[in-house]
């Protein structure tokens, strides 16, 4: 530690920079975690990367470029079902999240015994990856769009309930109290004092989650939950060019959804 003595006689000690502690912890974590990543040079074959990219983005064997892009047009049906299951899942899941989020908000229900168990339940659902929800759903209702829809619904419920209760807690409660003191019931007060404050945020989150869900549902098909992912899974072994064409389509669809989502959310603010 360095000590500075001023001309007046008083001295200042430069405080110890905590960054070194943070960097030390980081270094220990890096070294520890590196033990779990087995580095096997025999498995690494970088030339394969070029080969697979070439296979993906050029037509295979006898096929022409016409066939390559022609395949995209056969993807209409899985594409629509991917979008449908994201939309329906987003809306149903978000609506399911509303009552739960209200129960979990500290400022509406003040009792610890209400909001703590609800929050724990919400966290529990949020930890399960959408892919696993889809696998279990496939087990229950069979291969198809419905499993994807169930998975997306639960996934949306998890995110939305958390985001929403955090918004409800930041709401300005004075209009609510004003209405209650003037004789409104709790429901009426909620409808006219809290609802207008959270509705635009709710819509904005809904659009944002829809964007996430399109991306997620595009790969859910990999475990049999319908949509574009199933096309990728079906072709991954022998028809890399078809996988490539699907990825290109997916790229533009997600890009379009992202732009639409940004535009709509910009308008809401």
């Amino acid at each position: 530690m360095t000590k500075f003595t001023l001309k007046s006689g008083s001295s200042i000690t430069k405080p110890f920079n905590k960054v070194w502690i943070i960097l030390g912890v980081l270094l220990i974590l890096i070294v520890t975690f590196s033990f779990f990543i087995r580095f096997e040079p025999s498995l690494i074959n970088l030339s394969e990367l070029g080969v697979i990219l070439e296979k993906m983005f050029t037509p295979k064997g006898e096929r022409t470029w016409g066939d390559y892009f022609g395949f995209v047009f056969t993807l209409w049906e899985p594409l629509v079902s991917t979008l449908e299951m994201s939309l329906a899942g987003t809306i149903i899941g978000s609506l399911m999240a509303v009552p739960v989020a209200i129960l979990a908000a500290k400022n509406i229900f003040k009792s610890k015994f209400v909001y703590l168990p609800i929050r724990f339940f919400m966290n529990l659902i949020r930890t399960i990856p959408a892919m696993i929800l889809a696998v279990v759903a496939v087990y229950f209702v069979g291969i198809g769009v419905l499993s994807g829809l169930i998975a997306i619904t639960l996934f949306t419920f998890g995110i939305m309930s958390k985001m929403l209760y955090e918004v409800i807690e930041t709401v300005d409660m004075s209009p609510f109290e004003a209405l209650e003191s003037s004789g409104a019931t709790k429901t009426q007060a909620f409808r006219y004092a809290v609802f207008p404050q959270i509705f635009p945020v709710f819509l904005s989150y809904l659009i944002y989650i829809f964007e996430i869900n399109v991306r997620a549902s595009a790969v859910l098909g990999y475990v049999g939950a319908g949509g574009i992912g199933m096309v990728i899974k079906d072709n991954i072994l022998y028809n890399y060019d078809r996988v490539g064409a699907t990825v290109i389509l997916l790229f533009f669809v997600i890009l379009a959804v992202q732009f639409m989502s940004n535009y709509l959310r910009g308008k809401l603010q």
């Binding site: 974590l29 890096i30 975690f33 033990f35 779990f36 990543i37 087995r38 580095f39 096997e40 498995l43 690494i44 074959n45 970088l46 394969e48 990367l49 080969v51 697979i52 990219l53 993906m56 629509v80 079902s81 449908e84 299951m85 329906a88 809306i91 149903i92 966290n123 529990l124 949020r126 930890t127 399960i128 990856p129 959408a130 892919m131 696993i132 696998v135 279990v136 087990y139 229950f140 209702v141 069979g142 291969i143 198809g144 769009v145 419905l146 829809l149 991306r215 595009a218 790969v219 990999y222 475990v223 319908g226 992912g229 990728i232 996988v243 990825v247 790229f251 997600i254 890009l255 992202q258």
Partner: protein, 271 residues
Amino acid sequence: MTNLEKVLKNKPKTWIINSIFTLIVLIAVIFSFKGSSINMLRFNSIGITIRIMVTQMADLNIDFLFGRGVYSFQEGVVFLTLETLAIGFLGTLIGAILALPFSFIAAKNVVGSKFAKIGETILVIIRVFPEVVLALVIVKGFGMNALTGVLTIGIHSIGMLGKLFSEAIDNMDKGPLEALDAVGANTYQKIRYGIIPQIAADLSSVTLYRLDINVRSATVLGIVGAGGLGSSMILAAENSNWDILGTIMLAIIIMVLIVDAISSHLRAKLV
């Protein structure tokens, strides 16, 4: 009619547009159920399936948990969970380091708004590819191991981290930089005392948030062979080994809850 009633009557009729919009969305939702088929054989036995599943899931496979008995230690859940954590952590670190140069290219006050558009576009393109698709390609070059997972998460994180980093850099105050210029600081001193103190907290907060997301996604990347819990999990689910799946899910829940708690605790301290 009093004045108050008049005002009430002149309220804009937004409910018409609102109900039309609601109706359209409702029709879209109903329509999406039309295309969904259901396997009645499985659906009818849903009650029994759930009962079997829940009882077996609750019956944890202790041998599998610690990698004892018929399982080697490297197949055990404890090892795989730590491996998943390692993938998430190292992936986030690589992503954050790689995102820094991109974020400076995408920041308006560093390169000007024209170049920033190019940087932003690059970040959007990186962000668009789903992780699983990215992993499918990378696994060919780096083989079926955890390294693939680290690289996938690292590359995928660039998109989101780069965007949030560049926003933090955009919000930077130029005053300290000008002051340092005025007292004759060199470039290193300007970065060290003018830029880093301003953005370090924001950048770490964003990275910690991303760590939370990445640990979650590291749990499923194993599906395409990128290491971690994913491959055992998908295998157990497809072969209805519910005791194994239950053990894995328990591990995931504990891991994610701990990472979530640490990440949000540290972020609360940073702000």
